[in-house]
């Protein structure tokens, strides 16, 4: 096993990876930007290296600097986390040529599966159902229009090198098609340097169901069951759970087998996720493979008892997978909510700033994978994710009620968060019924605003705080008093 690894990421996921490393006796090297000198992942690591300025390109996306830091620190492997360079084939290739183990699949696999049309072709060959659509991408708007006509509207315009909803358009009729192609092409060109597009048939109210897979370097592959991630905002998942309320044992077997086929067909190694769409009739279609650890991996961990990061490290070190498919059992139900620094009352505007008070929820079945702490100034340069709150319980309903309790006791003051919005979603009758599909939020929570129940109590608390303020001068000034010294930045290692 590795003695020391570098984690090329920040926040909640860097902290989470380091914790497993510590438990395995592996030393950790954090990297950080100027904005993150006091970030949680820096405090958690054994060593920390400053990458540079706060802009991602100068820090967490700076391949040269990261590989160089790993070499200097004698780290034998790099864990990319998710986001940033996690699915960048050039980064994986650079690690490979530098003799540093990249904790993930090979650069070839990342490149193949990163190209949506290459992946689609590969899966069709392997007998995995794919959404009806084009197998080659093009920049020719008129051929896209013809194809759409043939396929029948509504269609989905997607970027060949897509991600995060960029370059994606739902087109419901002929008259919108050309304009949609042109704007999607320009967006994709800007975002990925590749404006080529392809079309997929647009499913009606599909569910997003994905399977966690593990594949070693010796040809063994298993899946760890599904996660349902249908609750999304702007193509970003916000609530995930397992098991999926839509799943039956036979469907689970069929989809699980398909996921393992995907792993074997692509030559996959390490942990990955095969995403499917599931339509109302119970048919499923291959969507794409995420060639990395997934934000929602904890719901799988909490119901299977398997530490996925530990498995990633074992696989990357060349250990054979000793888990057999039949030994993997799922018990109970788990739900994850992503806690974002966004203002849900103001169209989910990002809300960076200083966290004045931070009290994490706790108790039976509650896990909070957190990347921030009290006093931390959440930077505006990065993803707004603050933490992932996960609960597990015996049944979906018990897990749902546990999530309500956990969300209601999660105190974050100073910045806006999505917590009040999530409470209303989790409490809703529709969520309780398990009627989750990818247009759930648009359908039920458009123009949400916080109801004013509790406003009187909040006003009372204001006054009580005034009444007692004299007696706690320390507490009142504390958050303003803390200094941000050490402006002289540099590497910590010698």
């Amino acid at each position: 096993m590795f003695k020391k690894i570098l984690i090329a990421n920040r926040g909640d996921i860097a902290v989470r990876i380091m914790r497993t490393c510590r438990e395995m006796g592996i030393e950790t090297v954090a990297v950080y930007s100027k904005a993150d000198a006091e970030a949680a992942h820096v405090l958690e690591a054994d060593e920390a290296v400053l990458l540079g300025e706060s802009e991602p390109l100068k820090s967490y996306l700076n391949i040269d600097r990261i590989v160089d830091s790993a070499e200097k620190a004698n780290a034998e492997a790099i864990h990319p986390g998710y986001g940033f360079l996690a699915e960048n084939p050039d980064f994986a290739a650079r690690c490979e040529t530098s003799g540093i183990t990249f904790i993930g699949p090979s650069s070839r696999v990342i490149r193949d599966l990163g190209n949506k049309t290459v992946a689609r072709t590969m899966m069709e060959k392997a007998g995995v159902p794919v959404i009806p659509g084009m197998l080659t991408a093009t920049k020719d708007a008129s051929s896209l229009c013809n194809e759409a006509e043939r396929m029948g509207y509504p269609v989905l315009v997607k970027a060949a090198s897509g991600g995060g909803g960029k370059g994606m358009r739902v087109v419901s009729g002929k008259e919108e098609m050309e304009e949609a192609c042109l704007s999607a092409m320009s967006e994709a060109e800007k975002a990925f340097g590749d404006g080529s597009l392809y079309l997929e048939k647009c499913l009606e109210s599909p569910r997003h169901v994905e399977f966690q897979i593990l594949a070693d370097q010796h040809g063994n592959a298993v899946h760890l069951f599904e996660r349902e991630c249908s609750i999304q905002r702007r193509h970003q998942k916000i609530i995930e759970e397992t098991p999926s309320p839509a799943m039956t044992p036979s469907l689970r077997n069929a989809m699980g087998d398909a996921a393992v086929s995907v792993a074997l067909a692509s030559g996959y190694t390490n942990a990955g996720t095969v995403e499917f769409l599931l339509d109302l009739s119970g048919r499923f279609y291959f969507l794409e493979v995420n060639t990395r650890l997934q934000v929602e991996h904890p719901v799988t961990e909490m119901t299977t008892g398997i530490d996925i990061v530990r498995k990633q490290l074992e696989i990357a070190a060349g250990n054979p997978l000793t888990l057999k498919q039949e030994d993997i059992i799922q018990t109970g139900h788990a739900i994850e909510c992503r806690i974002y620094a966004e203002d849900p009352e103001a169209n989910f505007f990002p809300s960076p700033g200083t966290i004045l008070v931070h009290r994490e929820p706790s108790g039976p079945g509650v896990r909070n994978d957190c990347g921030v702490h009290e006093g931390f100034e959440v930077p505006m340069e990065y993803d707004p994710i603050l933490s992932k709150l996960i609960v597990t319980a015996g049944t979906r309903e018990a897990a749902r009620m546990r999530m309500v309790r956990a969300l209601e006791s999660y105190v974050i003051l100073g910045i806006r968060t999505t917590i009040p919005f999530l409470i209303d979603v989790i409490k809703s009758l529709e969520f309780a019924k398990g009627e989750t599909c990818t247009d759930f939020i648009a359908r039920h929570f458009e123009n949400w605003s916080q109801n004013m129940a509790g406003a009187d109590l909040a006003r009372i608390a204001y006054v009580v705080d005034e009444l007692t303020a004299v007696k706690r001068p320390a507490a009142a000034t504390k958050e303003k008093g803390w200094p941000t010294p050490w402006e002289t930045l540099g590497e910590w290692r010698i």
């Binding site: 620094a341 966004e342 103001a346 989910f348 505007f349 990002p350 809300s351 960076p352 700033g353 004045l356 008070v357 009290r359 505006m380 340069e381 990065y382 993803d383 707004p384 969300l407 209601e408 006791s409 999660y410 105190v411 974050i412 003051l413 100073g414 806006r416 968060t417 917590i419 009040p420 409470i423 916080q450 004013m452 509790g454 406003a455 009187d456 109590l457 909040a458 006003r459 009372i460 608390a461 204001y462 006054v463 009580v464 705080d465 009444l467 007692t468 007696k471 706690r472 507490a475 009142a476 504390k478 958050e479 303003k480």
Partner: protein, 171 residues
């Protein structure tokens, strides 16, 4: 004691009578009366017993008021009287309702108008980005772009006036 406290756009009048030294108080808000006992728990927590029921509130002083956490909700509670006097002050000669300011710390990525341009209410003027999300700031009213005080890649924060739009006489 009397308070006028504002949450979002709703202002309510509070009438408070405190029992000296006893850590309890009677509140009247509109038609409703509340009997409240309270104690402070380190750190930032107020444990209140409101009409017999336990309530834990967390309070932190922010810029424009107090942030109050209650059972998963977070309210920004502001003193309406201080607020109006502060507003009155701020609306000095160098500040007008046509000022465009970002809602959060962010970076300017696009400027879509030039000084002197005529703009319509709601028209996009400037795009800022924070946390990987772009937000378009729009004209608060019909008018003419009087001044642009920023540039591409500039880091900006709430309160910074990025664009000044002057209302036209004939609006």
């Amino acid at each position: 004691m009397k308070y006028r406290l504002k949450i979002s756009e709703e202002t309510a009048a509070l009438d408070v009578s405190v029992s000296a030294g006893k850590q309890n108080a009677e509140f009247t808000i509109g038609e409703k009366a509340y009997s409240v006992r309270y104690r402070t728990i380190p750190d930032h927590c107020l444990h209140m017993i409101v009409d017999g029921k336990g309530v834990n509130a967390f309070v932190a002083d922010g810029g424009e008021g107090k942030h109050v956490f209650l059972k998963g909700k977070s309210f920004l509670v502001r003193d309406a009287d201080q607020l109006s006097s502060r507003r009155a002050k701020r609306r000095g000669p160098d500040q007008t309702p046509g000022d465009v300011t970002p809602p959060m710390p962010s970076v300017v990525v696009r400027i879509m108008v030039e000084e002197g341009d005529l703009v319509k209410k709601g028209q996009g003027l400037i795009v800022v980005t924070a946390m990987k999300m772009e937000t378009t700031l729009v004209a608060p009213s019909d008018g003419r772009v009087k001044k642009i005080n920023t540039s591409i890649d500039a880091k900006v924060a709430p309160g910074n006036i990025l664009v000044e739009v002057e209302e036209e006489e004939n609006e």
